[in-house]
Symmetry: C2
Amino acid sequence: MTDITMIEAAAARLEGHVRRTPLLSSPFLDRLAGRRVLVKPECLQHTGSFKARGGWAAISALDAAARRAGVIAYSSGNHAQGVARAAAALGAPAVIVMPSDAPRLKIENTRALGAEVVLYDRARDSREEIGDQLAADRGLTLIKPYDEPEVIAGQGTCGLEIAEQAAAAGVTEADVLVCCGGGGLTAGIALALEARAPGLRARPCEPEGFDDTARSLAAGRVLGNDRLTGSICDAIMTPEPGQLTFPILRKLCGPGIVASDEDCLRAMAQAFLRLKIVLEPGGAVALAAALFQPDAVAGDTVIVVATGGNTDAATYTAALERFGAG
Amino acid sequence: MTDITMIEAAAARLEGHVRRTPLLSSPFLDRLAGRRVLVKPECLQHTGSFKARGGWAAISALDAAARRAGVIAYSSGNHAQGVARAAAALGAPAVIVMPSDAPRLKIENTRALGAEVVLYDRARDSREEIGDQLAADRGLTLIKPYDEPEVIAGQGTCGLEIAEQAAAAGVTEADVLVCCGGGGLTAGIALALEARAPGLRARPCEPEGFDDTARSLAAGRVLGNDRLTGSICDAIMTPEPGQLTFPILRKLCGPGIVASDEDCLRAMAQAFLRLKIVLEPGGAVALAAALFQPDAVAGDTVIVVATGGNTDAATYTAALERFGAG
């Protein structure tokens, strides 16, 4: 299982291949949230999301024969791009299984990064079954999007950076809000913070209708979502918390926070106006929670992981047209 | 006059108060430009533009009595915000003289940062006269937007970072494209590169119709623009190169490059799609030159300073609607 030693080993392998994203802030966001808001913009990461970390960590951990044989991943788009980029750079052929309703930009980018893309129907097919079958047929190593120790370790490198950057900013106690799908990033960050910044507490943030992690944490057992489609937050519509990630979240995280789709659009507009970064809806959930649900957060500083920016122009302009006046 | 010693002194005063912006890249932009493109996103700087550097450098250089009396600046918006932020943090009252057609967001932000805003008519009034009069009446120190040695030194700190970051990226020879208005940033960067990275060459980039610097460099003497309004690049519509900046540009810079307004919008869309950063039109001129005029640039790597991101939602969505499909 993933631990701090694995996370630090992943950080060493990622050195020079993945960006150390900064911590951004704005007095205008502080005013809106009623406390200091520090935003880690993983949208500025290679491939436009934190998934470049886990993809690199997992593929760089494979032996030479496994790399030569190739890898496969299933993903709505961000994990796809992270795996495709790492595979191309590390000399592994890559097959990516993507839902047919994934944003066109994510599908095109995955192909442009050199991967073979196989589409499936999100409501009808099981991506896990498709992935397992293709992996068996071609001898590919399956790189799961979150329930995979090396992927969790790779995402955890984001938590190592937060621990260092928070200390440099004089922050020793704070909630760390993380956009949460299957929980790989949240679990990785929680493990890193436990070891390197125990006063910081990871908290999963999810969109309305896809709050499986928040409900599972409250119930103390894994609960699923009623539906599999229908949020604008395509990046984090997962059926239920992972088998590996949930025990970590349950042990280390604070309660989940749920944000409405409208608040995600509002947070995208604030990120545009105040931070000059592009967020996709699923990458803005944590910022939405920090800005518009201040009572759900404790302390005088909140840290927000803005996880990705791979949105279509149409989605983005719709958010700005509704909420871009400030 | 500004020299490398002043720039390094400014860098020491700016430490901890101004962000060290990263160098971003995307394989998609490399493909478009036909060479490696490294982008320094000064839109992520405090106040949304590099002007936070010069503002802090100039006000932090004032003695205690001058700070107490206060400062004045004239600016279409980015210098205004840079000065307002530094003044508030350093305990100086600030009056900002802004054109009445400046983007609403820039005017509002300047007020929200604690400055008193005085509006003038860009076509009819001289901002210099208004500024001089107010400064005399109230005993304020005028912080000029570019023709001021400490401001040039502050902007030059961006060049120190480029020198270090280019070396870390293995780049020893490259054109450094800089969005250019009055030339303060271009001059400061050119001075820093001359001293710390002599294989890098600064090149001013300007919008069509406001190419005073390119024409002045070609002619070897200061030439003005025919008009004072009418570009979407509001941040860099200056009447002519500065008296202090032009001799520096003439000595150190390569030829200027001129980009169309349409190419600036196209570059904004590429920055959205590929880098997940928000650029204003005037902050995208250098990226436009790098992406859409590859023949104007030499070498296998080009460095682009993306100078600001303070644009209204309407301008931004118009750019995405035209060019955001990729």
